[in-house]
């Protein structure tokens, strides 16, 4: 078990972060190069003001017409993304590992709260799954990869929850937890999870076009 844990927390962790950060920078660079090559004219109306106006509206729950139209989805989506980011970043066990490896440390969540936030993430994944299956307009734009992505995102949280409670085979689930987290990191730049990198840009583009060209709201 020492070898596997050492591999997962050593070389594979390095590889995962390298691919995640390197891949994200690569995707950003190729996106910007492509825009420069093919649609340079958008820079004639790209605007900081309209970009941030759009981003600002869309990151606030119920601040857009679309958020208001789908209240349940809005609540689930915001709860999901907040818990998705905060739980791993502020989990005590993760911070202890950062401290041991790099001597850096920051504020942590109480374990009981992190436990509930994990359930929020997993619950939201179940919600998204049901939504994809049951709503025709969502099913129409769903491909097999969307289900795989849901699994990739849910896996670190499900395995982390089982490992934290030390149910079943603890070392196995902790190793699966680390592995699934690394798979998620690697998947971010190269799947639809890349909306993590691209969403501010698409929002900024939409905001600028609606604000500067159409003179209309995009929220």
């Amino acid at each position: 078990m020492h070898e596997l844990y050492g591999l997962l927390t050593g070389p594979l962790a390095w590889a995962a972060f390298f691919v995640f950060i390197g891949g994200s920078l690569y995707r950003l660079a190729t996106m910007l190069i492509l825009v420069h090559k093919k649609e340079k004219f958008i820079f004639t109306y790209m605007s900081w003001k309209y970009s941030f106006r759009s981003i600002f509206h869309w990151i606030i729950p119920f601040a857009t017409t679309n958020w208001k139209k789908h209240p349940v989805l809005t609540i689930v989506t915001f709860a999901f993304h907040i818990c998705l980011f905060l739980t791993p970043l502020f989990l005590l066990a993760h911070i202890v590992l950062w401290d041991e490896a790099w001597h850096i440390s920051w504020w942590s969540l109480p374990d009981s709260l992190a436990d509930m936030m994990t359930l929020v993430v997993v619950g939201a994944c179940v919600f998204y799954l049901i939504r994809r299956i049951s709503l025709p307009e969502v099913q129409y734009v769903t491909s097999a990869s969307d289900y795989v992505i849901l699994l990739i995102v849910a896996a670190p949280f499900v395995t982390g929850f089982i490992a934290y409670h030390q149910w079943l085979n603890y070392p196995l689930f902790l190793n699966l937890h680390i592995l699934s987290g690394e798979i998620m990191l690697v998947a971010i730049p190269f799947t639809r999870l890349s909306h993590m990198i691209f969403s501010p840009f698409t929002r900024a583009y939409m905001g600028s076009e609606f604000g500067a060209v159409r003179h209309a709201k995009d929220w």
Binding site: Y5, D111, Y170, L174
Partner: protein, 131 residues
């Protein structure tokens, strides 16, 4: 007959004496975490005698170290002190905090020796109490 009785009584008393002596010091089975005001995890398992036997540790200062100016003093030992006599709960620049020291002393050695538990829940075992 009287002589025999006295001899038997002495043997019995001696047996009781040794039994009490053997059990008077309770065997250590976990790390004392009572100093932490609000521990998030259950105290780590640590069976002192069984551990040292399995790990073949004879010298106390293998774990009960003394550091001076960042250098371990090979001839000094600190088994008559509490870890918390030196290591504070709060992190300081001078030396590892108490939690950092526990982790470094146990897990650090387990990692370098490639033996013994290294994952959180292998030491902080829930079945030992807590939620």
């Amino acid at each position: 007959m009287r002589k025999h009785g006295l001899g038997l009584l002495t043997v019995l008393l001696l047996m009781i004496f040794f039994l009490v002596a053997a059990h008077s010091q309770e065997e250590m089975i976990s790390v004392d975490n009572s100093i932490f005001p609000n521990p998030e995890r259950v105290a780590s398992v640590f069976e002192h005698e069984a551990h040292n036997e399995a790990a073949e540790i004879d010298e106390c200062n293998e774990c009960h170290h003394v550091y001076e100016d960042g250098v371990k003093l090979e001839d000094e030992s600190s088994e008559d002190m509490l870890c918390s006599d030196c290591h504070q709960i709060e992190v300081s620049d001078d030396q590892p905090s108490l939690m950092q020291a526990f982790h470094a002393n146990c897990k650090g050695c387990h990692r370098s020796e490639k033996k013994g538990p290294v994952m959180c829940g292998e030491c902080h075992r829930k079945e030992r109490g807590g939620d």
